[in-house]
């Protein structure tokens, strides 16, 4: 397994009742790269994000982060009846690795070992479905498509509160102010983050009183406050002016370099995607239809069909 892969998504399927929102999606995010997930409206992009960040529990599939499985599920119970898609047994003890033609036993065992290296719970019935906060704790932070800032709090408190998880303190030391040094450190870091984003002058304003573009920036600042190594951006340019989008583009690259981040983003804004991404995955109706570097995607017929509609002749 390539050690440079930060996020590895394998065969992830998400069903709501009979609707398959994400179908057998697999992708990789290498370290330090910017990867984009694109697709028409309703293609299942945000659902894929929600599966990765623990908001939803996927029906089937495996997600690893820095080689460690973080989400691992297989269709059981009620889902068993409805899910009969690809890889239905892949994450259960019933799974048998298919023997390739003319393969020696040795090679077969090696393949098995390799699989176990990615997924240490392979060939067992183990499920992993952590809550979102545990995944954030691993170092994955995200923003939301429909901005979800804490609306009764100031800009400053929005960022400061995101630092809560990493603070070395407990209920008593926080209440009785014995961890005041830790609190001051958190505040200092918050100031730095806000200054970097040019948000410091708004620090005492209510988060929701900011203009739209700045709210998106604040969301990114808040995500950075959790000290992530992987940043998931859900349509960061939605509702921005062309000028703001250009700035955003630079900004994403800047924070990537500064914090050694890997970035995985969903976007509709094709200019932005083509300019910024190192690699692109395209999905439609939950399934992958293409992947490649931006240049190839621009000319890919399947992608063009998905966006513009195929000619039915």
């Amino acid at each position: 397994m390539n050690e440079d892969i930060v996020l590895h998504v394998e065969n992830v399927t998400m069903q709501f009742g009979g609707v398959v929102a994400v179908n057998n999606l697999s992708l990789d995010v290498p370290k330090g790269k910017i990867i984009a997930l694109i697709g028409p409206n309703g293609a299942g992009k945000t659902t894929a994000f929600n599966c990765i960040t623990g908001v939803y529990e996927p029906t089937n599939g495996l997600i690893t982060f820095n080689g460690e499985p973080i989400v691992r599920n297989h269709p059981v119970g009620a889902m068993k009846k409805t899910y009969a898609g690809l890889n239905a047994d892949r994450y259960t003890s019933k799974f048998v690795l298919p023997k390739e033609f003319d393969e020696s036993d040795d090679a077969y065992e090696k393949r098995k070992e390799a699989l176990k290296e990615i997924d240490k719970y392979a060939f067992t019935d183990t499920q992993l479905a952590p809550t979102a906060d545990k995944i954030t704790n691993c170092g994955i932070a995200r923003t939301f498509q429909n901005i979800r800032l804490w609306k009764s709090m100031t800009v400053f408190d929005n960022v400061l509160t995101a630092k809560h998880m990493r603070a070395k303190q407990n209920l008593f030391s926080a209440t009785f102010r014995t961890s005041i040094a830790e609190e001051n450190r958190m505040k200092e870091e918050t100031v730095q983050l806000l200054e970097e984003q040019n948000l410091f002058r708004f620090k005492d304003d209510l988060a929701t009183s900011l203009p739209y573009g700045l709210q998106r920036r604040l969301e990114i600042a808040r995500a950075l406050a959790t000290n992530p190594t992987l940043l998931l951006l859900d349509e960061p340019a939605a509702g921005m002016t062309p000028q703001e989008t250009v700035e955003l583009c630079e900004f994403i690259k800047e924070i990537r370099n500064k914090y050694n981040l890997s970035v995985f983003l969903i976007e509709h804004h094709m200019d932005l995607v083509m300019q910024i991404s190192d690699y692109i995955y395209v999905i439609d109706f939950g399934s992958e239809i293409a992947q490649g570097v931006p240049k190839d995607i621009q000319t890919n017929q399947a992608v063009i069909n998905a966006y513009l509609g195929a000619d039915n002749e």
Binding site: T131, F144, M153, L171, E183, A223
Partner: protein, 413 residues
């Protein structure tokens, strides 16, 4: 560059002016509290007993207790956004725990007359009195009993919280209400009578009148001071919590659960913390209420009691500690004192036929409905009362009047 870093190192990140204001507020609050305590001490001991002090003392005591209950409910409902209606249940646990642990051993036979003197045969205040003297002994003993009462309430909350806190908004409300009713039924059940005295009331435990200091022939009373002391400490603790990192996390959970969780805040853990802490203080409040009432009976802790506290919180402003405090005193004073005449059948010497028993409550509930419907932010909204705030308000009064005039003349044009 240097300047920036200095600014960043400044822990509070405030302007010097804000710094000054916060200092004024802190010093002012301490001075005001000191004056208040001196006044309460004088009130307890040296003011002649008359109809005025006879009303003022109970109103102050009950008001302070309800202030604590309101703040503890506000922590949960206002700051964490959990709509819980279990307050009465936790108060009941606290009140009973306190009473059971502080009934003197010699009184057990009389109190538990239907249960052969009950199962518990010791009293914590009595134990301390045996070597600290009656006054100090009851003081130390009752404080320990109050803390135990809070802890027991908190333990129950931890147990109840495991299933209940997974529920959302109104389901949470109804489930906590249900648990409060179950707690009441358990305490009324004669099967536990040897501990709870079944459906009979508990009495003869250490009450507020026992908190006193005998010097020779002079006996100094500390009843009201004691209540205020406990309430001040508890509210101070809650305020410190609310202004800490955990308090901010609670607010985040209230504002948006999904993004709070996405930012690494463990929802269940933080909800549980808030629930347990709120219940601890509800238990303490219940214990103080037991001390105030001198008798306690589980039948009184109905959901109506929770509703009353909730309405006080709403009147004060959901999300304001000082609002809760103000509302509690106003509510208790109006209910128990100022509006009494509505029940008495006359204003001064004028007879009014519809002023009879219960009319006060009708007027009261209409007033509450008006507040709920038209002033839903309550007295304080989510703001806090501060000394500098009040000073500025008075300073700016002239400017506001001027601004109003200007606006009026503009509209007139």
């Amino acid at each position: 560059m240097f300047k920036k870093i200095n600014n960043a190192l400044n822990p509070s990140l405030r302007h010097p002016e804000q710094e000054r204001a916060s200092r004024i507020n802190k010093v002012g609050a301490i001075i005001l509290l000191a004056i208040l305590y001196v006044f309460l001490f004088v009130l307890d001991n040296f003011l002649p007993a008359g109809s005025f002090t006879g009303m003022l003392i109970p109103v102050l005591r009950k008001g302070a207790i309800y202030a604590l209950l309101c703040v503890s409910m506000n922590l949960l409902n206002g700051f964490t956004g959990l709509f819980s209606l279990g307050q009465a249940g936790f108060m009941l646990i606290g009140g009973y725990a306190y009473a059971i642990l502080s009934i003197p051993a010699s009184q057990h036979a009389a109190v538990y007359q239907y249960f052969d003197g009950g199962a518990i045969q010791f009293s914590i205040p009595e134990f301390f009195s045996s070597f600290l003297g009656a006054g100090l002994g009851s003081f130390v003993g009752s404080i320990i009993c109050i803390i135990i009462a809070g802890v027991i309430a908190a333990l129950f909350a931890a147990l109840i919280g495991i299933p209940v806190l997974r529920l959302k908004s109104d389901y949470l409300a109804i489930a906590t209400l249900g648990f409060a009713e179950i707690i009441r039924a358990i305490f009324q059940w004669n099967g536990f009578g040897i501990i709870t005295n079944g459906s009979n009331l508990l009495r003869k435990y250490t009450a507020l009148s026992d908190i006193r200091w005998d010097i020779g022939s002079v006996s100094l009373k500390f009843g009201t001071v004691f209540v205020f002391l406990i309430v001040t400490i508890c509210i101070l603790l809650i305020v410190l919590l609310i202004n800490s990192s955990y308090g901010r996390a609670f607010n985040a959970v209230r504002d948006d659960e999904i993004s709070a969780e996405a930012m690494g805040i463990n929802l269940f853990k933080h909800k549980m913390m808030s629930f347990i802490i709120s219940s601890f203080f509800a238990g303490v409040g219940g214990a103080l209420l037991a001390m105030y009432q001198t008798t306690i009976q589980s039948a009184a802790f109905t959901s109506a009691m929770t509703y009353e506290i909730l309405l006080m919180v709403v009147i004060g402003g959901i999300g304001s500690v000082s609002g809760s405090g103000i509302a509690a005193f106003l509510y208790i004073a109006a209910n128990e004192w100022w509006l009494r005449f509505l029940d008495s059948g006359s204003i001064g010497s004028i007879e009014v036929s519809f002023f009879r028993g219960g009319f006060r409550k009708v007027i009261f509930s209409i007033a509450i409905m008006i507040i709920v419907l038209f002033f839903s932010r309550g007295i304080m909204g989510d703001k806090e009362l501060s000394i500098t705030g009040v000073i500025n308000w008075f300073k700016n009064r002239k400017e506001r009047k001027l601004a109003k005039k200007i606006n009026a003349s503009k509209e007139g044009e």
